[in-house]
Every structure is written in C-alpha cells, then in structure tokens.
Symmetry: C2
Subunit: 489 residues, 2 copies
Amino acid sequence: MASKITSRREDYSRWYLDVIREAQLAENAPVRGCMVIKPYGYTLWEAVQSGLDRRFKETGHVNAYFPLFIPKSFLEKEKEHVEGFSPELAVVTIGGGEELAEPLVVRPTSETIIGYMYSQWVQSYRDLPILINQWANVVRWEMRTRPFLRTLEFLWQEGHTAHATAEEALAETLQMLDVYADFAIRDAAIPVIKGRKSEREKFAGAVDSYTIEAMMGNGWALQSGTSHFLGQNFAKAFDIKFLDQNNAMQHAWTTSWGLSTRMVGAVIMAHGDDQGLRLPPVMAPIQAVIVPIYKKEEERAAVMDFARAVEAQLKAAGVRVHFDGREELTPGFKFNDWEMRGVPVRVEIGPKDVANNAVVLARRDSSREIEAAGGPKAKQFGVPVEGAAAAVQALLGEIQASLLSQATAHREANTHRGIASYDQFKQALESEGGFLRVHWAGSSEDEDQIKADTKATIRCFPFDAPEGEGVCFYTGQRTERIAIFARAY
Amino acid sequence: MASKITSRREDYSRWYLDVIREAQLAENAPVRGCMVIKPYGYTLWEAVQSGLDRRFKETGHVNAYFPLFIPKSFLEKEKEHVEGFSPELAVVTIGGGEELAEPLVVRPTSETIIGYMYSQWVQSYRDLPILINQWANVVRWEMRTRPFLRTLEFLWQEGHTAHATAEEALAETLQMLDVYADFAIRDAAIPVIKGRKSEREKFAGAVDSYTIEAMMGNGWALQSGTSHFLGQNFAKAFDIKFLDQNNAMQHAWTTSWGLSTRMVGAVIMAHGDDQGLRLPPVMAPIQAVIVPIYKKEEERAAVMDFARAVEAQLKAAGVRVHFDGREELTPGFKFNDWEMRGVPVRVEIGPKDVANNAVVLARRDSSREIEAAGGPKAKQFGVPVEGAAAAVQALLGEIQASLLSQATAHREANTHRGIASYDQFKQALESEGGFLRVHWAGSSEDEDQIKADTKATIRCFPFDAPEGEGVCFYTGQRTERIAIFARAY
C-alpha cells in the first residue's frame, strides 16, 4: 500500500497526487481543470463547512444565496476588479438555444452581484450592517490546476458585509480573519499566521487584504483564507448609499471574506507523511477504526462479538467509529490502508485482548521514528475494555494537540530569521526553503524582482511581529516592517 | 401589514408573490428568471437540507461533488435525455478569453457526468452499490419562472445510485421516495401522496418516475420530489459495466432522485393564509417570538427583565426563540409582522403578566375564525412562567400536528371522487378545482387531449388506491388503475 505513494523527499508534488488518489479524496473530471470530490474528500469539506458555519452564526451572520450568473456589465463597474478577473472568466453566450443579448459570466466571486443587491436593500443607517454569507461554487478559468489547491470550479463560502463606518467594516474584516484562524488552529490543527497582504498580492478591488498563511510539509506557503476590507470601492461602483443619523447621504463600507476547498489541500499537506494522510480528529470522517484479528475460525466469534461491543461503546460515546469487518483482507493490509487514509486511532482486537478484557490502541500521529525521537508511544497495549471509549477520546484529544504542535515545530524549524542580505536570502531559499522572516522596506517593484529571481513572494506582513526595528535585507533601509517571504501554491 | 398581501381568494398568484416579498423570503435577481434567496428564505432551505441530509446518511448514503460543467457530447449519449433537456440548456462557449473547442453545458441535472464517472469506478460486483448524493445548483433555461417553484437556476440535491440488480435499484428508488414523503409529512407537515408518474410526465431517460404530490392552498398540485428508476438506460449509454459473481459482464442498474428549493414554495402554499406564512415548527427559523408590552416608562424595566428571563428559559430548552426588542414599533405592529412571517408561537408579556408571574401564548395555526369553528384556542392566558418552556414545546408539537391535519382536511375536502364522465370531470375542475381521483384506462394521447382541453394533467397513479375496479370516466373501460388529475405548478 505505502509503495503506491511516492515519498515526500523524492517528489512532493507526486506524493500529494498519490495521496489524493490512494485515499480516494478526489479525481480529475472529464472537464479540463475540474475535479470530482469523492465521498471521503467531501466529508472533509463537510467538516470545514460545519466548523465555519457554526462560527459564522455565532458572530451574527446569516446565510443567503445569490445567482450563479452575473451580467458581464456588472463586472466592469469596478475597474481593478474587472482587470483582475477578466482573463479568468467562463462566459455563457447561449441560453435555451438562442444567443444571449448580454453574455452572462459564471461567477468568479460575487462582490458585484451582491453589491448590486445591497444597493437595493440599503436606504438608511437602520438597514446596516448587513452580515451575509453564501456557500457556493465559483469558476475561474485557471490554466495550471491541482486538485483542491487550484481548480477551474471550486467550492467555498463568501461572506459579504456592509457597514455604516470604516471602523466597523475594518473590525468585521479582522474578526472574520480571527474566525478563520480559530478554525484552522483548533479544527484543522494548522498553525496559521495572520497578516496583511502586500499591494501586489491583495484582492482585485480591495483596499487591504488579510490572510491566514500556512506552511505545508515541503516548506511552501498556502494562503488558506482571506478577508478583505473593500473600503467604499464597491459601494461607489454599485451605489450602495444610506442616509446616516444626521440625514446625510453616505456610501457604505463593505468587506468580503472567503475560504475554499483549498483548506482540504492544506490539511493533506500540513499533516501528511510518507504513509499518507494524518487527519486531525476534529475533522476526521472516521476517528477510530476497529480491526478484529484472528487466525483460526474458532477464534472468530469471540473476537467479533468483543469487537462489536467495543464499537457500540465508542458509538455511544459519540466517537465516529468504523468497524473493518472485511473478510478477504489481512490485518496488516487493513493497518496500512487506514494509516494511509489518516484515521487517528486504530483499535486492534485479537484473541489475547479478548482473554485480557482489553484492547490495543495505535495512534496515527506517532511512529517508531517519532517514538524513538522522544515522541509519544505509537501503541498502547492492554487498555482495559471498560474504559475504552474514554481512553479513545483522551487519545483523540492528545492527537489533535500533537498534530498542531508537530506542525508548529515544523514551521519554526523551517522559518529563517536574521537574514542580512539578498544573497543570504537566496541561499536560504535554495538550500532549505521554508519561510523567510525578514525586515522589509522594499517597493512593489522590488517585490516583483524578487519573485522573478526566486519565485518567492511576500505571503504577508504578520500581525505578530515582536522583532522591532531592523535593517531591510534588500534595500538596507531601517524599518519596523516584517515580511514573510516564501514560495507558495 | 396584512393589507400589503392580496387575499388568496382575490388572486392566489399575487398572494404568493406578496408573501414572498413581505416575509423577505426571496427577490428577483437582475438576471432574468433567477432569484436571490434572502436569509429568512434560505433558513427554510437549510431546514430542508438538514432534514434530508440526516435521512440520506441514515439510509447509507454519502455526499460527493461533481463538476458544474458537462461536455455537450455527454448529454447526447442518452437519446430521450438529450431530447428532454436540450431546449433548456445554458452553454458556456468562452473560457479564459478564448472560444472553447467543445462547448460546456451548465448542468441541468447530473446523470450524464456521474454516469461517466461511475463507469470508471465500477469494475466488479464488489464495487456496487454506489450510494451517492450531491447538494448542488442546476440551471434550466425556463421561459416562465416563479420564485422557488420554477427558476432558471435552482438549488437541490440529486442522489445517484448504481446497483447490481434491477430489484435492488427499484427498492432504492422506492426507499428514497419514502424518505421524501417522510420529510414532507413529518418536517414540512405536508400530506403528500406517493405514486408513479405517467409516461407523459416521467423524467427524460427514466424507465419509471415516482413522485410525491402535494396540494396547495388553491387546490393545484405541486410535484415536490421525484425518484427515478433508470433501468440500464444510463448504464448502457455510459458503459457502466461490472463482472458479476458468475464472472459474467453485466450493465449496472441506476437510480436518481431529487428534491429542490421548490419545497420552500410548497411550504408557503400548503400552509399560508391571508395574513401570510404559517411555518411548521420543525422547519421554522424562529419557533417562538417574545414581544414585550408596556405603555409607561416605569413599566419598561420590569417587563424587559421578565421577558429576557423567559427568553433564556426557552433558549436553554432548545427552542429557537427571538426577542423583539424594537423600540420604535407598537406591539400590534409586531404581532402582525410575526404572524405574516409565520412564526408558530408568540409569547406576549405585559405588566399584568409580570404581576401574575405568567405569560400569554398565541398560536399561529389558529385564529378567531378557526377557534369559532371548533379549532384550538388562538390564545392561552396566564401560562405560569415556571413551566413556560415546556408549555411552548408542547404547543409547538400541537401546531406541527395541527398544520398537517389542516392540510390533510383541505386536501380531502378538495378531492373529487366518483366522477363518471368527462363532462363531470370538466365541471368539477372548473367549479371547484382540486384533485380529481378517477379510474383511468386512457392512453397517452387521451392524457394529452385532456391537458389541451382543461390544463389538468395526471399527477400520479397513487400507490394507495383502495378503490378497486371501476369504470374509466374517459374511455368507459373497466380498470383497477386510479389516477389523480389536477392543474399543477
């Protein structure tokens, strides 16, 4: 089984595609650049949906739905927006057998159509704020695609809010960034870094874009969710105006924020190892798999009965448990199979365990290597069956925390600090990759030059920057600004 | 408030549109035939989603996601299917600024692309059954549209399953019809009738289509969900083949089943009255609204504190409660507003109630007229505050049951039986409308003629048909077959 997956060291891109194929997460569709999300992969997306939707509702947002099709003229109303998106559009020109008078764009994002609707809904300060989210599919005609990370069509949520003041809109923008970070850290066990995007990397039409950036297993960055302060740009383009409390007409202040099926790619690459997926228990479709083990037919009934009772106990405790009763496969094959699919806990039950009234618990986040390096024991033997559910739940909690701390340690080990020159910068990037955390006083043109030279871009200006003043590695100027450069998906 | 809604008797179509506008369920989009589903309407769709998704998973189904775009050539592989759908297609001809070599159809339904994928996934009987559902948007280029009932783009779920035998596929088709009926009856309080579609009304490409048919307030029928036995039609068109247990190559047997945002229209029209919506408690976004009532400023604090405590009690008991603390509006206005929006229970709290340590409960499913006709009391006074949550929960249960029994009584009162001739048929339809439950031995051509004469169609051949043999009103032949004719949306 493991041999079907290329090692990460050998070829990280192939490793990623192998894991997606072998774990049955997704497949290429017969339409270029599109994917089919298979049930196991879709369940991970459902975990993203439920984790976010709950947080959106707790922060006062409601869901709604806006049309898939946008009149082409709408896109053209915000200058930067249309420049950013027009090369990527899919356009419907025929409907019901007839050529359309005005072509319809398949939404690449919905600021324009939602802006139009908000202009109808907002008259007075009493109509504000509007706090709406939408779960939807969007289409961007990408040329180079990769499952989950960049596909022609993808699934996401897009929040769109309108406010009476700039302060309130900015607070909303940052609140939703916090929501994304909270989800990424607590549910996906990914230690994302919050920060602001550079001018070059911000959303087309935004005043400022904010991001959560994650480090993948190969040291590359993945932008995992973004929140945009749109200022009055879209309000002016779409005439979202209101009478304020002093009876003066004002343009509203808007925000938008999105997180997509990319997050599934982030989970694969932040935690996966050469055996395959390692899923954080909060999101795992199956949290614990039970593998009954017997050699002789006379052992079968006792093992199966015992194992079914353990299954019932785990189910009753709310653990998402799967019983692997496949007859034609060996236990060893099943171990590899479920390791590859990233199930956090394996419960092994053989005749000796039945005799001892106990089970064996194996944890996916450890291994002989990790154990040897001082990490947690990969297997616990003789766990008493009476407390099996509690033991599994405790273990799930430990695994969730351990995946986060492993990913954090990986990020820290692959973050380069104290870079004093562009040569050092290039050397670090070339030899080790990872995040380059540097003082930065360069211009957008400097940023372009570095990208052209090295393929690294500014991932963000991190909020958390205790470094204080220092010297920009590129310009030599003194500055307080910290930038994180990295190669990115 | 009520005056903004046309009475049903005056103009049922206008009543429907008025309710949708005033209750803020949806709005026309700036794209012809498309709607914006507003938050209150979308919450009803979320209730449909959660009610169905739970039932799908309980019956062993998993969710997945297939692409929005379908190569045009795929549609053409099943002859009846392409004939049925080709007049309704939206076609993408431009992507990324360039004309596409093969145009892409925006999915009107996904049998073809899913059939193609299943042909890749199925090799052996061990790969069957496949039990997949997808939540998605679809597009059909309809010329005459009406919010929720028929829109160019709509939201739905579409289940697609593949099986080794015809028996198993048929059992699945009927199981999912049962799931739809169970949802409609228990959650939406709509007493749907299960039955089989006539040849004329079945899905393009199906062997047989099954339906749940609901009666709306004006006596018209609404097809509210359908489940199709596709035989081997799509398996042959897409080459879904497997080696059976005897090592012989077989085509699979497939099914598909769908239920859409139409269901929201069904809820509006099955239960609404001249005041507006009446929502079944299981689906209602707000189950109970609290309206504090005071005239003098010195009463305010006591009423508000008391009302907030009741809110906390209801919330703790799991009731979806809303506190209407709007200062600028009178209690009478609020009463009308929440009645119009269909909230099942109103909790009124004034100074006298505070003094008596009690609340007033008003139920939306009754009225002075219904009460006078022997129905339940529209208002309960002096409900002790200690047991308020339990009283509200009991009342919600009663309302759920009462809406179902009111809709059942309405359906029975508007179902015509014992029709002996086509003249009687036409007279009943013209004078009273409703369902015409008749013996039927006619042909498809006879069905067409009746439709041309009267606009009534066969809604279904109901499963539950205790009538036994009788005489067909149209052909005079003796038959056991019962058909339900009606005008339909």
